[in-house]
Structures are given as C-alpha cells and as structure tokens.
C-alpha cells in the first residue's frame, strides 16, 4: 500500500486461469492482477494484441475478462470475491480481412 495507514480488506483467493491468486477484499480484479505484476488482461479478438487497464474507471471496456462465467466483464469495476473465477481467453478468432 502507498500509505501505512491504509490497510486493504481480508485476504481472498481468486482462481485465475485455473491458478489460485491471493487478493484483498475491496480490490478490483484488475488491481489484484496488477499487484502480482500482471498488466496484460486480455488479447484482442482480431489482432491478438495485448491490452491492459486504460481508463481504470469503467468507461473504455478495454480490461474486459470472463469473470464467473460472464464474458465482457470489466476487471476495473469488479471487486474480488473469494473463489471468483477469472479467465483471460488468449485464444482469438483470426478474422479474415477482406
């Protein structure tokens, strides 16, 4: 934390792409991943380019991940829950450009 006076909430465990990841209550999924050094939250459908947090406030939808089975969920707006399933589909459908 940036200031000793600030203590994040209780520890919870997320399952990210099948692997457990420790996070603290109150954190967003994006921040829980950032805290572990993970900046790439998804790859784009067409080009397969990496994307991460951009606006961090729910406007740009660039941080969308599949969270608890729901694709297109904003990692910057979703607070962590114990046992939450997060996946980052690296697979993408190469779209033929005519």
């Amino acid at each position: 934390m940036i200031d000793d006076a600030i203590q994040p909430g209780a520890e919870v465990t997320l399952i990210v792409d099948g692997e457990p990841l420790q996070a603290r209550r109150g954190q967003t999924v994006a921040v829980a991943l950032l805290a572990r050094g993970r900046r790439v939250l998804r790859h784009t459908r067409n080009g397969g380019h990496p994307r991460g947090l951009f606006c961090a406030m729910g406007v740009c939808f660039d941080c969308v991940m599949t969270i608890d089975g729901l694709q297109g969920t904003r990692a910057c707006m979703t607070r962590v829950e114990d046992g939450m399933q997060v996946s980052t589909p690296l697979r993408f459908e190469g779209r033929e450009q005519a």
């Binding site: 694709q71 589909p89 459908e93 033929e96 005519a98």
Partner: protein
C-alpha cells in the same frame, strides 16, 4: 440550377444507390439526392439477410433468387467486399399451425427450385445447438446468406460515382417539376436538377415524394427493432427464426387497432466477420416513430433467452429501430402511376437489402425502355436468357 441529368434518383438508401449504379452502368447520367447521408435510414438498421426460406413463392421469391445471384458476384462487380456469406437459414415451428404453414411455404419454394428441406426437431437442434426452447420441426435452406448492408449500400454509391453519378447528400427534395404531363426535373433545397426521369426510392418516405406529383403509393412504415450482442467465439453461424414471426408478417396487414402487445419471435443472426449476434426484428405499424421501446427491447431478450439460454449470459451492446417500406402488394417497381418519367422503387418491406441489386437492374432496364411496359415476369425471363447467353 444544381445540375442536369438523364435520371434523378430520390433516396440514398441501398435501393436508391443500386438504382443509381445500374443506371450509370447502362450509360445514363445520374444524379442522386439524399436528405441525410448515404445509407442513413432503414438500410443501416437491418441484419443484412438474403433469405429465400422466409418468402412465399411467386414473383417476390423469383426476384429474390435473381437478386441472390447478383449478390454472389457483387463484391467483384462493385470492387468492394460486401461480406456476402452463405450461412444457412432455419425457421422453427412451435405449433401444428406453424408446421402446416412451413409445409405450405416449402411447397411454394420448391416449385421455383429453392433447395429447402423440412427437418425434424432433432435435426433443428443439430443445425443450431443453441436451440433449447420448444421446437417441433423446421424449414431449412442451406443456401441462404447474408451480407453487410452498409458495405452493399456504400459499394453501390462508390461504384455509381465512379461511373459518373453525382451524389447530393444533405439535400432535401422540395418538389418535382412537371410540364405537359412529363417530368422535367426535381426541386431541391440546394437548387433544381433538370431531368426527364425521377425515380422515387425514398423507402418508407416514398408516399411523401409521390404526393408531389399526385401519385399515391401503397406504402406504410413498418418498424423493426433489433438488439445487438457482444462478439463471441464459436457460436453457430446459421440463422434461426421462429415461424410465428413469418405468419404475422405474411398474414397481418396494418390493423386499425394495434395489438396489445407487439408480437415478438425468435430471430438469431450471427455476423461471421464481427462475431456479433443480432436478435430481431419486429414488424410494427406505428407510423414514423423510429425509436426503440422498452417492451420490444426486453421482449427480444426474453425470447432469445427462452429459446437459447446460453445467449442470456451475453452483453447487449445496442439496439436499433428502422422504418421499412411495407407494401401489401410487395415491391413497387417501375411505373409510379404519376406523370410520364416518374418511376418508383420502394415497398420492399424488410427485403430492401436482399432485393437491391435486382431492383437496380430492373429500374435501369425500365427507364432504358423509356417507361414502356416491362412486366417483372418478362424481366426475369430476360435475366435467365442473359445468364444463359453468358454461359
């Protein structure tokens, strides 16, 4: 004077642009007048369906078949990728009445050589594994297709312009000038256009243009609402719709009293290139109101989630509403019933995109024959003869 032309086309939707293209290709000097921008009306708010399975037999189906053949070669013809793709089309029946209706449809379609088959419940679910709701049987057409309506519209506009057509957008029609029973030009907000021919391709707004020359057209706006879902991987590409919608579409004319609830049935289209899913549309007679409604937007979602529960998890990204030019007589092509030199190309209902190439081609020949009677049946025969000659 704004300009001088052989033909002035009113309306920059997919039909108007197609008419402008084929006329230009035939050597005419064409001016096109559009009050907004190209493709801003119903042409940009439809799923781009090129379907035979949804049509009763007869002339409209034959026009649609001829049009599909033109769509197949359209990317090459226009030099623009129209994203034409054959994905197949399945219409499902929920009741005995609907089964009987599908059988009747299939008979008419087979009579003109459309390769449709009646399939049982299990085959329906195999064709589109998302289907979970009540399905008894279906009508399947493997050759049905779709294209990107915006690309088709823009492709026609670009190609028309490349052949010398002038496109005046942001230009409103103020009147049609007529002398001695013959059209002499069009008055617009940006000046007059001298031309011996005016083609009214104003879609649902065609009656207002017709009024300027005292012609009445059997066209009313029919609203269609569509809901668009987020792009997904690996969903079936085959189009699926409920027979109840077709029944309503083919049987219902504008009623005096509006039904209490808007009929909503399943309609699923997945665009292969973008991966988005389109749900809808509806057939509503509510005048010129082109807004989405709470009832229909939520109703389309309810219907989709009931028939295809997997879709319930997806995000809705947007909804649209478009005003289609509905005519109880089917497409109105050629003679507009007004002065000499006044022609129409409207009344396509929800088939404007599908029928645009054949409409453009017909109008170019009708105008080329200087308005002499040219029955659509004869045109279709001529087309067959032409393609025979090419082969």
């Amino acid at each position: 004077m704004l300009t001088r032309a052989d033909v002035v086309v009113v309306g920059g939707g997919v039909v108007g642009c197609a008419v402008a293209y084929y006329l230009s290709k035939a050597g005419a000097r064409v001016a096109l007048v559009e009050r907004s921008v190209v493709g801003s009306g119903a042409s940009s708010v439809n799923p781009g369906s090129i379907a035979m399975a949804t049509k009763k037999g007869g002339t409209v189906l034959e026009l649609a078949r001829a049009s599909q053949r033109l769509h197949e070669g359209l990317s090459a013809e226009l030099g623009t990728a129209t994203e034409y793709a054959v994905e197949g089309n399945l219409i499902v029946a929920e009741s005995e009445t609907e089964i009987a209706y599908l059988e009747e449809l299939a008979a008419g379609q087979r009579a003109v050589g459309v390769p449709v088959e009646l399939v049982d419940e299990q085959r329906c679910r195999e064709l589109n594994p998302l289907l979970r709701g009540r399905v008894l049987s279906g009508l399947y057409c493997a050759t049905d297709a779709h294209a990107n309506p915006f690309k088709v519209t823009q492709g026609f506009a670009d190609a028309a312009r490349n052949r010398g057509a002038q496109l005046f957008t942001g230009t409103a029609v103020e009147g049609i000038s007529v002398e001695a029973g013959h059209v002499t030009g069009l008055m617009t907000s940006r000046g007059n256009i001298e031309a011996p021919w005016v083609v009214n391709a104003a879609g649902a707004f065609a009656p207002m243009i017709g009024k300027m020359v005292g012609a009445t057209h059997d066209v009313v706006p029919r609203r269609g609402q569509i809901v668009v879902l987020e792009a997904t991987d690996a969903l079936p590409g085959i189009r699926v719709s409920g027979a109840s919608q077709l029944l309503a579409k083919h049987v219902t004319a504008p009623a005096d009293g509006r039904p209490h609830r808007t009929p909503i049935s399943l309609s699923y289209t997945r665009k292969p290139l973008s991966g988005t899913v389109l749900l809808g549309s509806t057939n509503e007679f509510v005048g010129y109101d082109s807004r989405n409604t709470r009832e229909v937007v939520t109703g389309i979602c309810e219907c989709a989630a009931r028939f295809m529960p997997e879709l319930g998890r997806l995000n809705v990204l947007r909804s649209w509403a478009g005003l289609r030019p509905y005519s109880s007589k089917g497409p109105l092509l050629g003679d507009g019933g007004g002065p000499a030199g006044y022609a129409v190309a409207t009344g396509h209902g929800g088939d404007g995109m599908a029928l645009s190439p054949v409409t453009g081609l017909y109008l170019s020949r009708y105008v080329g024959r200087d308005g002499k009677s040219y029955p659509v049946a004869q045109f279709l025969q001529d087309l067959k003869a032409d393609s025979g000659a090419v082969q």
